[in-house]
């Protein structure tokens, strides 16, 4: 049973990596995990969810009405991107970069669209990771 679960978890992780949801940073985090901190990765990811919720909320508010402060939007997204990259959330990170490009171009529509992309990727990743952690247990 256990080994099967483990196999499934390993398989899932491989998929996540192959499909680009996660990158090697995630694997590095897993390497850090040890007996003293057996749930380190999960805890970190949970912390990421908390931070992300805040970032997303703030950006959403900033995108609602003009005038749009693109510098501020860029800064906020920069932070979220940094957070995402720290856990290896590759696709989310890519979307964040696209959003930042729209900010640089002062393209508010582009920002909105890419922001939708960010939220979607984030939601997808979150679901997959939750499944993954369940398998790992």
């Amino acid at each position: 049973m256990e080994s099967q679960k483990k196999r499934q978890a390993a398989y899932m992780k491989k998929n996540l990596l192959d499909q680009g949801y996660l990158d090697e940073q995630f694997a590095h985090l897993e390497e850090l995990q040890d007996d003293a901190n057996p749930n380190f990765v999960e805890e970190v990811v949970k912390s990421f969810y908390t931070d992300s919720a805040r970032f997303i909320r703030n950006i959403e508010v900033a995108l609602e009405n003009g005038p749009y402060d693109f510098t501020k939007l860029d800064n906020m997204m920069y932070q979220f991107k940094g957070s995402s990259s720290s856990i290896g959330a590759r696709r989310v990170k890519r979307q964040c970069s696209m959003f930042q490009e729209c900010c640089n171009a002062k393209n508010i529509e582009g920002c909105r669209n890419t922001f939708q992309g960010v939220k979607q990727e984030y939601a997808t990743l979150k679901t997959k990771l939750e499944t993954y952690f369940q398998m790992e247990k």
Binding site: L32, E43, V44, S47, T50, N75, Y78, Q79, S83, S86
Partner: protein, 651 residues
């Protein structure tokens, strides 16, 4: 936040040096402060650093991190900070740390654009990591600590020697160790003499070529300086005029110029630092944090020293003492070389002289004594340099032990502090408050508070290192030396020099002071522990000799205070010995009137050249921390030893 326990454990198991078990852990136990506003990143970094066996303190606010650094000058070896933070720009933090504590700072960012990286370089970051950071990148950060220390050490030449020589003329070595008072002068002198006798003048010889007379900017001296500046008006204050107004014999225009520069930076910083505004202005006394600017070095130690000698104005003394206790006199302690008759650099300062480092200087009390011998004409900068170099030196000697780093930090702090610290007094207060809480060791009353800032010792790490080559010219340490002399029993507890934090591998985790020890704290704990470390380090038993000396140093004024509990064994003595080294050779005796370093009670290592230690007092202090617990003590001693050695060398 740190898990001292874990780091200490790992530390021990990490030994890779064959040298001494205690010292072997380097770089394990390296005290890292990591600052990042992103909680996820912070958490990951913390785990990575822990996995590297470092002792980690994390903060998600730059202001908090800065105050932690200020409070515990000798409590950290290196700082890692994110560039983009909401409350303070990472580069600004970098500047502050560089000026006030002179610790190596590594910047991190997801932004790898050239101009940002360049900004890091121009602001003085010793490295720049691109996020996401990998553990491999963190494994070698210890090199920056060593490099910095080494660099500083080299710069410092052995001014101490020079100073010592100068000081000779002014002081007359009082046989009783009463650093705080004018006796300091005597001590210094006698220790100096001893030094010569002992023929440990090699360093002196070396330094004589370098000769840069170092001025120790004691609290008093700094006050005079500030008064002069205020009188002239900050805009019109030119070194020449300031010098005239101050009318301090032996002080050169260059001394004043460099001090003025630091003071200006300090003021600038103060105005930029909202939190610590307290009183920046002129006296250190007041503001613990803000003041940290230039005068930091006058932290508690100085105050205490000054107080002891009766020279410090009550108010400042109080602040300093408090601060000193709390904080390691790192700041000021070091800068204060032994005072010469004028008391410019009276022992009072010794406390201050402690490097800004963290806590180390808390033990300033102790340090002060040590400084006694140092000629006052040292340039503050030099002193600072000395400290730093001592630190680095010490560190270097220590074979790169982690401890060393700590010590270095201490020393560094000390030097830095010297110049900076106006608010040191306060810092000390703050820190001392914390610390004072009481170390189990009774701190001599005169010293006002507990113990000498562990700061001195805060660098526990250093102590360890010290064990080795004992002498690392730890210049500031000289001041320390003094203290050991007088009071045989006094200081024992008071030396918080050895900051519990850091280095001392065992100690740190142990927490020098039973109560106060927290992993981060390095040494802030009142005094005590310092002695222990030596004990271990040297394995000598000079015991009370050492301690006493230390005690005396701290108490400066009154040796009686120090409870003999501290059993600072040989290591302590070492420190003391350092100062008195010259003569003593082996501790044993404590007449330390002058700065004697009986460091090697056992006759070993510490035969640091006493001469150099004019400021070692501060160093000794470092080691003197008393760890409430035996094991801590020993650990600390060990660390201290190393540090001490370094200090000695510096001196």
């Amino acid at each position: 936040m740190n898990l001292v326990a874990s780091s200490s454990v790992s530390w021990k198991s990490n030994s890779n040096n064959s040298d001494r078990v205690e010292k072997n852990e380097f770089p394990a136990g390296l005290r890292v402060l990591v600052v990042d506003d992103d909680p996820t990143c912070l958490r990951i970094l913390e785990k990575m650093l822990r996995n590297c066996h470092y002792e980690v303190t994390k903060s998600n606010r730059a202001e908090i991190a800065l105050s932690m650094l200020r409070e515990n000058r000798n409590g950290f070896d290196i700082v890692i900070s994110d560039v983009h933070m909401p409350d303070m720009d990472g580069f600004k933090l970098l500047e502050h740390v560089g000026l006030e504590m002179d610790l190596p700072v590594i910047m991190m960012s997801a932004d790898d654009s050239k101009d940002v990286v360049m900004k890091g370089v121009t602001h003085g970051a010793c490295d720049y990591l691109i996020k996401p950071v990998r553990i491999e990148a963190l494994k070698n950060i210890w090199q920056h600590v060593i490099r910095k220390k080494k660099h500083e050490w080299k710069d410092k030449d052995f001014e101490q020697s020079t100073i010592v020589e100068d000081g000779d003329q002014h002081q007359k070595p009082p046989e009783d160790v009463d650093y705080s008072s004018s006796a300091n002068e005597g001590n210094w002198k006698s220790s100096k003499r001893r030094k010569e006798e002992e023929d440990e003048t090699e360093e002196r010889d070396d330094t004589s070529t370098l000769k840069k007379p170092r001025v120790v900017w004691s609290v008093e001296l700094h006050q005079q300086f500030v008064q002069a500046v205020n009188q002239l008006g900050i805009d019109k204050a030119v070194p020449k005029k300031i010098l005239e107004l101050m009318n301090v014999p032996g002080l050169t225009r260059e001394n004043v110029a460099s001090h003025l520069q630091k003071y200006r930076l300090y003021l600038r910083r103060l105005s930029g630092v909202s939190q610590h505004q307290n009183g920046l202005n002129d006296s250190f006394m007041g503001h613990p944090e803000a003041a940290y600017g230039t005068m930091t070095s006058f932290s508690g130690l100085e105050l205490q020293a000054l107080a002891a000698t009766g020279q410090l104005p009550a108010q400042s003394l109080a602040t300093f003492q408090a601060a000193a206790l709390g904080r390691s006199a790192t700041k000021s302690a070091i800068s204060m070389p032994l005072v010469d008759q004028r008391n410019l650099f009276s022992f009072e300062n010794p406390k201050l002289r402690y490097p800004e480092g963290q806590q180390q200087l808390n033990n300033s009390n102790k340090q002060i004594n040590l400084l006694h011998g140092i000629p006052t004409t040292m340039e503050p900068k030099q002193l600072a340099d000395l400290h730093q170099s001592s630190q680095s030196f010490v560190a270097m000697n220590m074979q790169g032990n982690a401890r060393m780093q700590q010590n270095n930090a201490l020393l560094m702090h000390m030097s830095q502090q010297q110049q900076k610290q106006p608010s040191r007094g306060q810092m000390l207060n703050e820190s001392s408050n914390g610390q004072v809480s009481q170390p189990p060791l009774s701190m001599p009353q005169p010293l006002s508070s507990n113990g000498i800032p562990a700061a001195i010792l805060s660098r526990n790490g250093i102590v360890d290192n010290v064990r080795g080559p004992v002498y690392n010219p730890v210049s500031p340490a000289s001041s320390m030396v003094d203290f050991s002399l007088n009071q045989t029993t006094e200081l024992q507890n008071s030396f918080p020099l050895v900051s519990s934090n850091s280095g001392m591998s065992t100690l740190t985790s142990k927490r020098l002071l039973p109560e106060e020890v927290n992993s981060d704290i390095k040494g802030s704990r009142g005094f005590p522990v310092g002695y222990d470390i030596f004990e271990e380090l040297h394995q000598q038993k000079s015991q009370d000799w050492g301690i006493q000396n230390v005690g005396s140093a701290f108490g400066a004024s009154d040796h009686s205070g120090i409870p003999g509990t501290l059993d600072v064994s040989p290591s302590m003595l070492v420190q003391q010995g350092i100062s008195s080294m010259k003569k003593n050779g082996q501790n044993g005796n404590s007449p330390m009137g002058g700065p004697q370093l009986n460091l090697f009670s056992g006759g070993n290592l510490l035969t640091v050249k006493a001469e150099q230690l004019p400021d070692t007092s501060y160093q000794s202090n470092l080691f003197l921390e008393q760890f409430g617990q035996d094991d801590l003590m020993s650990a600390i001693l060990k660390q201290q030893e190393s540090v001490f050695l370094l200090l000695i060398c510096i001196l």
